[in-house]
């Protein structure tokens, strides 16, 4: 039995998120169907992802694993999976995982990037990859609020009510507000692990603070009360991209901003 690790890039617009659903089209569902077709087995295959991205969320660096006994070459796997999935999903690499590897449980951290197109008009090329917003945002206030999110906190108030995680303490290594050009704002979040909708609620709260609708102290109030209702809006899914999952043994390419993300997806560099 071999455990295979996959690296996956996808544009999430046409999918109901990562997690397999009985009826809706999902990334895990498409990959599972493709892996099953390639292996030609009757036994069901489980494709385990690192992150269960929401409906409409994109990924430059999703990671998943599955087990198989076939002697098929890994490179043939990659080509077959890409032939069997639509063009908005790309498996960039497959490799044999180390003993005991688990795409979700072995992850040591993740980077998400959230893009805000801060302009009164829609961007014709980036419509489904950004949150378009015409109102002016105070970047300095957003950065001050972002700094409050860094560190180890109880993020109970920054998750959706549908989140079933038994623990809510998480560590954010970085929460940074960057600009790229005069109209693009990017919020880059690096943390050990995340709760459901956590990045989107954090970004929505930063935006509400940046727009002057909330005080900076609101961050502290949410942490102290643990109440979701005190935090800001949930930023729309389309602006969010899973950029990178960290593992102890992981190879990474250098940043490549010209591809629309800070990190070149592994395997798309060659």
């Amino acid at each position: 039995m071999v455990r295979v690790r996959l690296h996956i890039v996808y544009r999430g617009s046409a999918y109901h998120g990562w997690q397999i659903q009985p009826r809706d089209r999902t990334v895990e569902g498409e990959l599972t169907r493709a892996v099953q077709t390639v292996l030609g087995l009757e036994a069901p295959v489980k494709v385990q992802g690192a992150s269960r991205t929401d409906s409409g969320v994109h990924a430059l660096g999703q990671v998943a694993h599955f087990d198989h006994e076939s002697p098929r070459k890994l490179w043939d796997f990659v080509r077959a999976l890409n032939a069997l999935t639509d063009d908005d999903i790309c498996v960039t690499r497959a490799e044999e995982a180390a003993e005991g590897f688990h795409a979700r449980h072995s992850a040591r951290g993740k980077i998400y990037r959230y893009r805000i197109w801060n302009h009164r008009f829609n961007h014709p090329f980036l419509g489904d990859r950004v949150w378009q917003m015409g109102s002016q945002l105070d970047l300095e206030r957003m950065r001050q609020a972002a700094a409050k999110l860094v560190g180890t906190h109880d993020f109970e108030g920054f998750r959706t009510t549908g989140c079933d995680s038994p623990t809510t303490v998480r560590k954010m290594r970085r929460v940074e507000v960057h600009t790229r050009g005069p109209s693009m704002i990017e919020v880059e979040v690096e943390g050990t692990a995340f709760l459901k909708h956590m990045v989107r609620i954090m970004v929505g709260t930063l935006v509400d603070i940046g727009a002057g609708r909330m005080e900076l102290s609101r961050i502290d109030e949410v942490f102290e009360s643990g109440e979701r209702r005190r935090a800001g809006q949930t930023a729309p899914a389309c602006g969010l991209t899973l950029e990178r999952v960290f593992y102890p043994d992981f190879p990474w390419a250098e940043p490549a901003p010209e591809l629309g993300g800070a990190y070149l997806p592994v395997g798309l560099e060659a």
Copy 2:
């Protein structure tokens, strides 16, 4: 009577090119309908574009003009036109043109950019903005071929048979082959004016030479013979973007590669 100059960005994938057609959806057709709606006139309006981009070709810097007598403020025009067109078309600015201005005839030059995603797999985020090609290309050969295209030549052999231009001598100021990251090749062409399909046939010929299917000397043969059949393939429309039109009096923003083009569309910078 006021002549209004429009600056337009569009993702061309859903349009049968710029030029208005009786049945098919085109960018000029959509804008004409929108302008007509805003002006509320019974007399037909002509929206004159600088470049008649092909079906599927994109624009970061298209320019057009139309005439009107309405006292409506130009800024209201822009907002109304964007409200009346789909999100893949964005009018970024409207201004009163100088006496005698004509979007097509006053143009002093244009820049086109052609993107080749030189990778064996499709890029999930850039599928409809690049020509995806897995075979290896010799960039040095492509650059040598590109250098031969620079200058004033008779481009008779580099136009489609459907081109009705009475003259075929054109001046190319620059034909440059760049790389952006390890897998993206960009051909940037700056010239005074272009024949129908000229950029796409030039790029297709560079690719055929880069792939080793044609000799470098083929460029000279096409110039000498004027025969389309001696030139290379026509590169697909989806890889092409009209980046910029030059006019004697024109304001331009600085390059902004983070928006997916070398030039920030005028009006999207603020």
